[in-house]
């Protein structure tokens, strides 16, 4: 068990090491210098270039996800209303607008905000419920 988990971990480590090595071949769109500048600004200190590449790739992935979400919104906007036959249907030009972008970004933030609210509400709710039960128990005891 231990050995297998140890081997599993070893595999994972090697996979990670391989992955990091493969990162060096891939050139992310966000340049290394920019990433290093903002990382050093926020306190991140690491001389290893692979980590900066990892951060750059992660940021690129994030932005591309947001952009693809915005693209979806844009396409949905174009597909839904087919008002005029006069203008060219399905206007081919896909333009990134503030509206689509805000919708896409809202989805990113959505869960975090609502989850915190949910968490706090449930916490206090449970707390109050317990208190009430305690009080009820006391009352019951006294009555009895």
């Amino acid at each position: 068990m231990n050995s297998s988990s140890g081997e599993g971990r070893h595999d994972d480590d090697s996979a990670l090491a391989e992955f990091l090595a493969s990162l060096m071949d891939y050139t992310p769109t966000i340049p290394d210098e920019l990433v290093e500048h903002y990382l050093s600004r926020s306190g991140f200190h690491c001389p290893d270039l692979r980590l900066t590449r990892l951060v750059a790739v992660a940021a690129q992935k994030f932005i591309s996800e947001v952009a693809s979400d915005a693209l979806q919104h844009c396409k949905a906007r174009q597909a839904a209303p087919v008002k005029d036959k006069s203008k060219q249907p399905k206007d081919k030009r896909l333009v990134l607008t503030m509206e689509d972008l805000s919708k896409a970004l809202r989805e990113v933030r959505k869960l975090t905000v609502s989850s915190i609210y949910f968490f706090e509400v449930t916490f206090f709710g449970i707390l109050i419920y317990c208190l009430l039960i305690e009080k009820k128990k006391k009352f019951v005891m006294i009555k009895v």
């Binding site: 769109t29 951060v55 932005i63 990134l96 975090t112």
Partner: protein, 362 residues
């Protein structure tokens, strides 16, 4: 897409010129905007609004900063100052919680096989490689501070034995010692004033000599130039008292030309007397004779005999018994032949005689 990239690239340039709000971080923001534009282009957009690109670039920068902060936090939590790959993975997990990743609910998960890493791996394998368009220099450029040289480097002996020569040298004494600077121009001021007065006197002298020369134009006499007596010509006075240089009070014996209270006819006539040669000159038609007569302010008054018409209010009686009757007669006889100008001059004189008080103001 090259078209999309180029188009949004032009949008980039116009917007980057306008926005100057960031204040110091403009270069980083510009680079981020270009990178974000390239990503959008590769995603499938043809073009974009510049404001949307700005916002997305801001989001990217914030994401990188947050990731760095989280990684640093985890490193500090483990008692390290420099982060390693696990700190970064944990940071990624923190940031990616909202979107979710596989294996997030796994309690005993290993970081190395984290879902986040796998997703990134998939992204790397599937997404096409779009390197950044332009070479980016290393920034920000750290300015090398100018080091103050030591005593030994300058070659200066430090003041005092207690100061070793490898310490930085003292600044120049003129930077901290205030030596008063005397204004050398005190004497120059005085000489300047003297020079000014001298030049003024010279100018006055030359002016006087000019006047004199003009006065003596007709006469054959050659009057010498006046020697400087504070530049005021005492001896020569032009015919016209108004053109003469001002004399200090009491210096020149001046007859009282006009008095408000007319006691005698003598005083009344003074203006006429003064202008008599002028009138004569006008009559004759030559102006030079006007000032050709060298006159001291009159102590003797030429006889003037005026005869005016009935409407005239002033009658002037002749002063002295000097035989100038002929002159005045001729003056009067030629009344008809005179020009209008001369007639007008006479009228003016007439009016001047009417009001002696006005004369006083003259």
């Amino acid at each position: 897409m090259s078209d999309g990239g180029r188009e949004s690239g032009t949008d980039n340039q116009t917007s980057s010129k306008k926005s100057k709000v960031s204040g110091g971080d403009e270069f980083g923001r510009a680079i981020a905007k270009i990178a974000v534009t390239q990503i959008c282009g590769s995603t499938g957009f043809h073009s974009s609004h510049p404001s949307a690109l700005d916002a997305l670039a801001d989001v990217a920068i914030r994401y990188i900063s947050d990731l760095g902060k989280a990684a640093n936090f985890y490193a500090n939590l483990s008692g390290r100052t420099s982060s390693n790959v696990f700190d970064v993975i944990q940071g990624l997990e923190d940031l990616g919680l909202s979107q979710g990743f596989s294996g997030a609910s796994d309690i005993h998960r290993c970081l190395a096989s984290s879902g986040v890493v796998r997703e990134i791996g998939q992204f790397v394998n599937t997404a096409e490689e779009v390197p950044f368009a332009w070479p980016v220099p290393r920034f920000p450029i750290a300015r090398i501070p100018k080091q103050t040289s030591s005593f030994a480097q300058i070659g200066e002996a430090p003041a005092g034995n207690h100061i070793p020569n490898w310490l930085p040298a003292f600044p120049d004494p003129h930077t901290y010692i205030h030596t008063p600077v005397w204004n050398e121009r005190a004497t120059d001021l005085r000489t300047d004033k003297i020079e000014q007065a001298r030049q003024r006197r010279k100018a006055e002298r030359s002016l006087l000599s000019l006047q004199q020369r003009l006065a003596c134009n007709a006469t054959a006499e050659f009057m010498p130039a006046i020697d400087g007596d504070a530049g005021k010509g005492k001896e020569i006075v032009t015919n016209n008292p108004f053109l003469a240089p001002p004399l200090p009070y009491g210096e020149k014996e001046v007859s009282e030309i006009v008095m408000p209270k007319v006691d005698a006819d003598e005083k009344k006539l003074s203006v006429l007397e003064t202008f008599a040669p002028a009138i004569e000159a006008a009559k004759n038609g030559s102006l030079t004779s006007l000032i050709s007569e060298e006159r001291v302010l009159p102590s003797e008054r030429p006889m003037v005999h005026f005869k005016f018409g009935i409407h005239s209010k002033s009658i002037v009686a002749p002063l002295s018994s000097k035989a100038q009757n002929a002159k005045t007669d001729s003056w009067f006889l030629r009344d008809d032949e005179k020009d209008d100008k001369k007639r007008r001059a006479e009228m003016i004189l007439k009016e001047a005689m009417e009001n002696p008080q006005e004369l006083a103001q003259l």
